[in-house]
C-alpha cells in the first residue's frame, strides 16, 4: 500500500551547458514531469565528485540523477567521460555496501532535448517509486549493519586516496595501459576495481566504526560482516599509520578508537 503513495526524493546534478539547458527547455515547452526531482547546477557533470553522488543518500534522497552532455558534445571536451567512469565505480561502491546501484542513474541530455529530460526524470521517478524509500530498505546481502553505517562507509571509501587515484587513472588504464605499456583487458580491470573497493571497504568500515565508539576487532568484524583476521590486518595497518589507537583493553582484547575525527563521524 505504502509503496503506491510513496513519493521519492530525487536530487539531480545537471551540467550548465547541456542537461540544465535541456531541463529549461522542458520548462519552456511546458512538458510536465514529477516534482520529485530537484536540481543542482554545476558547470560540468565532470564536477560531480563521487562523494557528491553518495552525499544525497545520506541526506535523505531516494535516488540521484547525474545528467551530462552526450559524448562528443561536452562543453569541456572530455568531462563527461570522467563522469561516466565515476558513476560506474560508485555503482560498485554502492553494491559493496549493499545499496541498490539502480538508485544512482547516469544519462545524457543535450540542450535541445527537453522531451528527453522529462522522459528520463519520469522514468527514474517511477523506478524509485517502485523501489520504495531508501531509508526503509535494508542493505542487501548478509551484512548485519544499518543503512546509515553503510552510507557512511561508502562516503569514506570514495574519500580514500587509493580509490580516488585508481578512479582518476581508470580511463587511461583502459585506453592506454599502464606506465609499463602493459595493456589491461576490461575484465581484469573491472576485477581490479572490485578488489580495491573490497579492500577499501574494510579500511573505511574500520575507520567509520572506530570514529563512532571504541570497538574490539571482533565487534568490528561482526558489524561489517567480515572475518576477524581481515579486520585485524587493517586495524594493525591503521594503527601503524597513527589513525587508530587502543582505547582500553576489555577481557584481554583491546578496543580501538580513531585518533582523528574523520569527516563522516557525525553522519552515522
Amino acid at each position: 500500500m505504502e509503496s503506491e503513495t510513496f513519493e521519492p526524493k530525487i536530487v539531480a546534478f545537471l551540467c550548465n551547458w547541456c542537461s540544465y539547458a535541456g531541463a529549461d527547455l522542458a520548462g519552456t515547452s511546458r512538458l510536465y514531469y514529477p516534482a520529485n526531482v530537484r536540481a543542482i547546477r554545476v558547470m560540468c557533470s565532470g564536477r560531480v565528485d563521487p562523494a557528491m553522488m553518495i552525499r544525497p543518500f545520506i541526506d535523505g534522497a531516494d535516488g540521484v540523477l547525474v545528467l551530462g552532455c552526450h559524448f562528443g558534445d561536452c562543453h569541456y571536451l572530455t568531462g563527461n567521460y570522467q563522469t561516466d567512469q565515476r558513476v560506474r565505480i560508485v555503482w560498485e561502491v554502492l553494491r559493496q555496501v549493499g545499496v541498490d546501484p539502480g538508485r544512482l542513474h547516469l544519462d545524457w541530455v543535450s540542450a535541445a532535448e527537453g522531451a528527453r529530460f522529462a522522459e528520463i526524470v519520469e522514468e527514474f521517478c517511477n523506478r524509485m517509486r517502485h523501489m520504495g524509500p531508501l531509508q526503509a530498505s535494508l542493505p542487501s546481502g548478509p551484512l548485519p549493519y544499518d543503512l546509515p553505517l553503510a552510507l557512511a562507509i561508502a562516503a569514506e571509501i570514495v574519500e580514500g586516496e587509493r580509490f580516488r587515484w585508481l578512479l582518476g587513472r581508470l580511463r587511461e588504464l583502459r585506453e592506454q595501459g599502464s606506465v609499463y605499456g602493459e595493456r589491461i583487458d576490461a575484465a581484469r580491470l573491472e576485477q581490479l576495481v572490485r578488489d580495491v573497493i573490497a579492500e577499501e571497504y574494510v579500511r573505511a568500515g574500520v575507520q567509520v566504526l572506530a570514529a563512532r565508539e571504541p570497538l574490539s576487532v571482533k565487534d568490528m568484524a561482526s558489524k561489517l560482516g567480515l572475518a576477524a583476521r581481515d579486520v585485524l590486518k587493517q586495524v594493525a595497518y591503521l594503527k601503524k599509520r597513527g589513525v587508530l589507537d587502543i582505547y582500553d583493553v576489555r577481557q584481554q582484547s583491546p578496543r580501538y578508537q580513531s585518533t582523528t575525527r574523520i569527516g563522516v563521524d557525525d553522519l552515522g
Binding site: 531541463a23 516534482a35 530537484r38 543542482i40 565532470g46 569541456y76 535541445a112 586516496e161 582518476g168
Partner: protein, 684 residues
C-alpha cells in the same frame, strides 16, 4: 530596526534571540521570490514560499515581487541592499540562464560583488513543468529557494579574470550570410577572415536563377557583394579552406585551418580559361547539378571569387595517371599552374567567430516513391534553377532532361523532405520555410516563358508569410497556375516517352486527380550541411533537435550561441530566405563587433584554488585537464599543482578527481554543493 514594506509582506529580520550583534558577523541575505506575472504565481504559492524562508538563519528580508527583473523589482533589491545592509541576494525566479547576468549587474551597481548572488529556478524547472500539482510545485519551490539560501550563505566574493581581445573576426562560410557578415564587420573596421570550404564564395545563392518575390537575377545582386569581399582591404578571403581546430575563448580564439591545394597560384591566375580549353579530362559539373560537364581544371562559375581556376585531382590526368599530361602547365602563359602545392595548415588569432555554414539540399532520392535519380524528368527545385538559368546547361531554355524538349505540362510537389513524420533522423519534421515561395517563383517563371504551359502545384498548404509573398502567390494563381492541396503518393514513369503519371487527392474538392506530366519538380527541403556536427563539436556550440545550430535565446539572442564570442548567421541556425539571412548576418556582425570594441574581456573566475599543503603532486589533475589549465611544477615544497588561470575553463573535473582533496573549486565548492543538497532534501 523596523522597515516599512508597503503591500509586500516582509518579515522583520531579527526576531527571537538573534540580535544585531549576533547577526552582524553572519551573512545578511535578502530573498526575493518572483511571481513573473502569472508564470510562476499561477502554479506556485509565492507568498507561502516567501514565508517559508523568511525566518531562516541569515535571511534578513524576504519579499515577493510581481516582476523582479522590472525596474521596480530591481529598485526594491537595490534599496534593500543599501538600507538593510545586505551582503548576499537570493532571487527565486526564472532560470539563471536567462537573468543571472541582469541581477549580477544589479549587484555590481549596488556595490556588492556579483558572485554573491544565487538564483533558484522556480519557473523553467518548477512552475512551468508542474502546472498540474500546485502543492507539489510550491513545496519544490520552497526546497529550491532554501537550497539557494544555503548556498548563498557560503558564497565568496570573486574577482573576474581579465583577458585581452584580438581585434579580428572569422566568418565560417561564404554564402550570402557569410559574405554579408564579413562585409558588415569589415565596414565597421574589423579585420575579418572569411573562410569558405569550396573553391569560390557565393554559396547556394550563386546557383539560383531568380529570387522571390521580386524576380531579381540572383547572381546580379550577389556578385557585386562578392567583388566587394575581394576589394575590401579588411577582408582576407580563405577559399578552399576548412576549419580544423578551435581553441581559446571569446576575445582570443586560436583557429587552425586546413588550406586545400588548388594547384593554381591564385595571385597569378587571371581566369583567361585557356587551360580549361586545352584540358583533356572532363568531369560532371556540380555547379550545374551534374546536367553538364566541366574540365578537370575549372572555375566553378564565371563570376567566382576568387577568380581563379582550380584543379580537381579526382579527374586531372596528372593525378590519375601518375604525373603525365601537364597540358595546362604548358599552356598557361603566367605560370600559374603549380602541381607542387600541398595541404597547408594556417593558424589565426581572432576575437570572435560568426558561423554561416548554410544548408544542404535534401537528397530527393531518399523519397524512392518519386523516382528522383531513376526517372530523368523528375528534378529538384535546385536542378530547376540551373536548367532555367542563362548560364545553365540549356542556356536559359527550360527543357526536360530525358530528350531536352520543352515540357508543356509541369508539376511541382511540395514538402519533399520537410514537414515529414517519416523522416526518421530527427530532422525533416520542420517546415523549410522557403520552398513554397521557391515553387511560386518557379511556377511563375514557367508561365512567363511558356504562357500556355500547364502548371500544377501539389502542396500541403502554401505558406507565404513575408513581405510581398502573398501578393506574388496570388499573381501566380491569376496567371493560371493550379494549386492542389494534396500530396501525391508516388510518381509512375511511362518508360517509352518518360512522361510521368501523378495521382493525388485534391483535399479541397475531394476529387482524385490523375494527371500525366512532362516534368515534375520536387520542392526539396533544407537540411543541416554535411560536417556541421563536427564543426559544432570543434566550436563547442549546441545543435537543436532539427540538427541546425542552437541560438542563444529563441527570441532575444537569435544570432548568438550559448558560447560567448561565437555567433550565427543564415541557414546554419535554421532555414531562412535571403533577406532573413542577410538580416541575421548584420545582427551577428553587430554582436561580434560589440565584443571586439572593448579592450578587455571579463571572464567568470571559476578556476580552482590549490592548497599546497595538501597537494601531493600526483598529476591526476594535469592528466585530466583537456586545456592544460593546471600543471604540476617543482616548488621549494616539492611538486605542486598550479592553475593557469587563462587556460582554465572552470569545469571542475580536477577538483572532483583530486586524490588528496587539495583542489577547491571556486563558486562550486564542495561545501556549497553539500549545503544545497542538504537543504533540497529538508523539505518534503
Amino acid at each position: 530596526m523596523g522597515v516599512a514594506h508597503g503591500e509586500v509582506k516582509a518579515e522583520a529580520p531579527h526576531m527571537g534571540g538573534i540580535n544585531e550583534a549576533g547577526c552582524g558577523r553572519g551573512p545578511r541575505i535578502g530573498v526575493y521570490v518572483c511571481h513573473c506575472g502569472l508564470n510562476i504565481a499561477a502554479t506556485v504559492d509565492v507568498a507561502r514560499v516567501r514565508d517559508a524562508v523568511a525566518g531562516l538563519p541569515g535571511v534578513v528580508v524576504a519579499r515577493d515581487n510581481k516582476y523582479t527583473c522590472s525596474e521596480v523589482g530591481q529598485k526594491t533589491i537595490a534599496d534593500d541592499i543599501k538600507n538593510l545592509n545586505l551582503d548576499r541576494v537570493v532571487i527565486a525566479s526564472c532560470s539563471p540562464r536567462l537573468h543571472e547576468r541582469t541581477f549580477r549587474e544589479l549587484m555590481a551597481r549596488s556595490g556588492l560583488n556579483p558572485f554573491l548572488l544565487e538564483m533558484a529556478n522556480i519557473r523553467e524547472q518548477c512552475s512551468w513543468v508542474h502546472g498540474h500539482d500546485r502543492e507539489a510545485a510550491t513545496r519544490k519551490a520552497v526546497a529550491l529557494t532554501r537550497a539557494a539560501i544555503a548556498r548563498a550563505a557560503l558564497l565568496e566574493p570573486l574577482e573576474r579574470n581579465v583577458g585581452s581581445v584580438t581585434k579580428s573576426a572569422m566568418v565560417i562560410g561564404g554564402g550570402v550570410a557569410g559574405i554579408s557578415a564579413a562585409l558588415y564587420l569589415a565596414n565597421m573596421g574589423v579585420k575579418t577572415y572569411l573562410v569558405e570550404r569550396e573553391p569560390s564564395i557565393g554559396g547556394h545563392m550563386a546557383m539560383l536563377d531568380k529570387t522571390f518575390p521580386t524576380l531579381d537575377c540572383s547572381l546580379c545582386i550577389l556578385s557585386p557583394k562578392m567583388v566587394e569581399v575581394r576589394e575590401n582591404s579588411n577582408i582576407e578571403l580563405l577559399s578552399y579552406t576548412e576549419v580544423r581546430k578551435v581553441e581559446g575563448q571569446v576575445g582570443s580564439f586560436k583557429v587552425e585551418l586546413l588550406r586545400k591545394p588548388r594547384y593554381i597560384d591564385e595571385a597569378k591566375c587571371v581566369a583567361c580559361g585557356l587551360c580549361a580549353e586545352k584540358c583533356p579530362s572532363k568531369a560532371p559539373d556540380e555547379f550545374n547539378r551534374g546536367y553538364s560537364e566541366r574540365k578537370a581544371i575549372y572555375i566553378p562559375f564565371p563570376q567566382a571569387i576568387p577568380a581563379s581556376y582550380v584543379i580537381d585531382p579526382n579527374y586531372c590526368r596528372y593525378f590519375t595517371r601518375g604525373g603525365k599530361c601537364r597540358v595546362c602547365e604548358k599552356i598557361c602563359e603566367r605560370g600559374a599552374v603549380d602541381f607542387s602545392q600541398r595541404e597547408e595548415i594556417v593558424t589565426l588569432d581572432v576575437g570572435a567567430i560568426v558561423i554561416a555554414t548554410g544548408f544542404e539540399p535534401y537528397d530527393a532520392s531518399r523519397k524512392t516513391q518519386y523516382g528522383y535519380g531513376r526517372f530523368p524528368n523528375v528534378i529538384t527545385s535546385l536542378d530547376f534553377e540551373r536548367i532555367i538559368c542563362a548560364d545553365g546547361p540549356t542556356h536559359g531554355k527550360l527543357k526536360r532532361p530525358s530528350d531536352w524538349e520543352i515540357p508543356r505540362r509541369i508539376a511541382f510537389i511540395q514538402c519533399v523532405g520537410s514537414r515529414d513524420e517519416h523522416e526518421t533522423d530527427g530532422a525533416g519534421k520542420y517546415c523549410s520555410r522557403v520552398c513554397c515561395m521557391i515553387t511560386a517563383k518557379q511556377a511563375f517563371m514557367v508561365k512567363e516563358k511558356y504562357p500556355d504551359a500547364e502548371v500544377y502545384v501539389y502542396h500541403t498548404d502554401m505558406r507565404t508569410a513575408g513581405k510581398g509573398f502573398e501578393e506574388f502567390y496570388q499573381r501566380g494563381r491569376s496567371e493560371g497556375i493550379v494549386f492542389v492541396r494534396g500530396k501525391p503518393g508516388e510518381i509512375v514513369e511511362n518508360p517509352e516517352d518518360h512522361s510521368l503519371r501523378v495521382v493525388a487527392e485534391d483535399a479541397d474538392s475531394g476529387c482524385i486527380l490523375d494527371l500525366t506530366f512532362d516534368m515534375v519538380v520536387l520542392a526539396i527541403g533544407l537540411r543541416p550541411p554535411g560536417g556541421l556536427v563536427e564543426l559544432a563539436q570543434k566550436l563547442n556550440v549546441s545543435r537543436s533537435a532539427d540538427g541546425f545550430l542552437l541560438e542563444g535565446h529563441p527570441k532575444l539572442r537569435p544570432a548568438e550561441t550559448s558560447i560567448e564570442g561565437i555567433y550565427l548567421a543564415g541557414c546554419a541556425q535554421f532555414p531562412k530566405d535571403i533577406p532573413d539571412s542577410v538580416a541575421q548576418a548584420g545582427c551577428a556582425a553587430a554582436a561580434a563587433a560589440g565584443v571586439l570594441a572593448s579592450d578587455r574581456i571579463e571572464m567568470d573566475p571559476l578556476n580552482p584554488v590549490v592548497d599546497e599543503e595538501l597537494c601531493i603532486g600526483c598529476r591526476l589533475c594535469e592528466k585530466l585537464c583537456p586545456y592544460g589549465g593546471i600543471k604540476v611544477e617543482k616548488t621549494d615544497k616539492g611538486f605542486k599543482a598550479r592553475v593557469i588561470e587563462l587556460a582554465c575553463k572552470g569545469c571542475g573535473v580536477c577538483g572532483a578527481a583530486c586524490s588528496a582533496r587539495a583542489i577547491k573549486m571556486r563558486h562550486y565548492s564542495d561545501e556549497q554543493i553539500y549545503a544545497q543538497t542538504a537543504a533540497l532534501l529538508e523539505v518534503g
